[in-house]
Symmetry: C2
Subunit: 287 residues, 2 copies
Amino acid sequence: MPLGFTGARLDRADQIRTDAAAFATAVADPRALCLVLDGIDFVPGECGGLRWEPLGDGDDRAPMLLGLDEAGVPHFVREPAPSQRIDARSRTVMRLLPLLSGEEAALYGGARSLVDWHARHRFCAVCGNPSALFRGGWGRKCDSCGSEHFPRVDPVVIMLAECGDRVLVGRQGGFPPGFFSALAGFVEPGESLEEAVARELFEEAGIRVSDVSYVASQPWPFPSSLMIGARAVTDDPALTLDTTEIEAAMWVDRAEVRAALAGDMGAPFMAPPPLAIARYLLEDWAG
Amino acid sequence: MPLGFTGARLDRADQIRTDAAAFATAVADPRALCLVLDGIDFVPGECGGLRWEPLGDGDDRAPMLLGLDEAGVPHFVREPAPSQRIDARSRTVMRLLPLLSGEEAALYGGARSLVDWHARHRFCAVCGNPSALFRGGWGRKCDSCGSEHFPRVDPVVIMLAECGDRVLVGRQGGFPPGFFSALAGFVEPGESLEEAVARELFEEAGIRVSDVSYVASQPWPFPSSLMIGARAVTDDPALTLDTTEIEAAMWVDRAEVRAALAGDMGAPFMAPPPLAIARYLLEDWAG
């Protein structure tokens, strides 16, 4: 079972992004397709799946190259219009994701992150003047000061702390009632993944861990995180919660995790949804 | 042997960054220290090591909290002056790094990334108006549109492809003569670490890999990368180089890697320097 938002199969074709003539050829390809979006949400096709339309040329918004399929057909998404209002935090689209295959969800996730980044980076952070799209949509350049800017990917560590035969799950105030998940936090400048895992577990739960080990990763397009799943070990289960970050946390054993994953009514908590790496971490740990 | 730029021991004290009163108390602490920088380069102390001065209050530039030491002494670095010219790509400071302990190099690396980020993000990318420092220096806020911005950490995959008992090393045009390293590239929106490893190896060297496995990570402050080291396996050693990225690449066996790591004159290449995770990957592989 691949992780959520992984498995996109388009060739990103970086060599076309950086070659103006090759990019123009791709745009002019009569087979070229454009992903239909409503803001940054996808619009389901009539039979489910993503909706594509011929790229055509009746739109002022610049096409951005998502990649080529196995037949060489170029797939695009258009830059957001300046007037377009985008709420990057909205996750209403999550309800529609079951209409997509895993491959389509991955493709959509990357396109969503890209469109959202452009919508929030119309101006140059160095000098404040407007910037414009370049490299086939995979960057912006400032005509005023010459600075180049590239889409953000924000690494996040998400981890299960283990103590004996139990792992730590926690919940933020905004979670639906009963839901618990793995703790998580953004990696900061100046730290390794392993250091970020240790810092976050100490900050949020007051535990000191050792033996941090990598488990798996996934992109998370809300708006553009790279989730890096890990495990860590502690020998002291005493918790000191940072209640501004975590509303509650608890140690759970394998039987309890399995019950939660199975959706049992008697389980002590509700598990994260299928697309989330937190669920994968719990499944991986519970065996 | 810890990886380069890891091992900083200050408590980053996020709870102080987000609490104006606690932050003011830390700034007013008579023990508070400020890291002395020349642009974004450190200035060695008289006996080596980083140079610190009392934080004081005779400087218009806002202090940014690096963290607390074990005695609770707050350590700061000041935001860059608007007039300050910073060349984030300059690595002349690399020559001075042997003057620092590993812990100091890690602390400096994080401070350098933070200062550099502020210098290049004085304006709001959403609306183009000036933004101002908040959260104790760990973010900027736009008074005009209310957007919040946080320091970038750019995840980079760096990997050894294995084929039988050999691994792939390559060199970019800008490398010093004879130097080869692991291939590397930025993770893009919409892909996992494992997918980024496979994509980069195909783009740069034309090889298809499977079995991507994580090895280690390090922060890299030029300007603010998170290097994620991995291995991957291929059964076809045929190379197709993207010569815009890679000038040359070759498969090397364990004896050749060991000779390069030992600095032997007869080695077929010169190995990456001690602080780089590429060297760690080669050491780890060569056993």
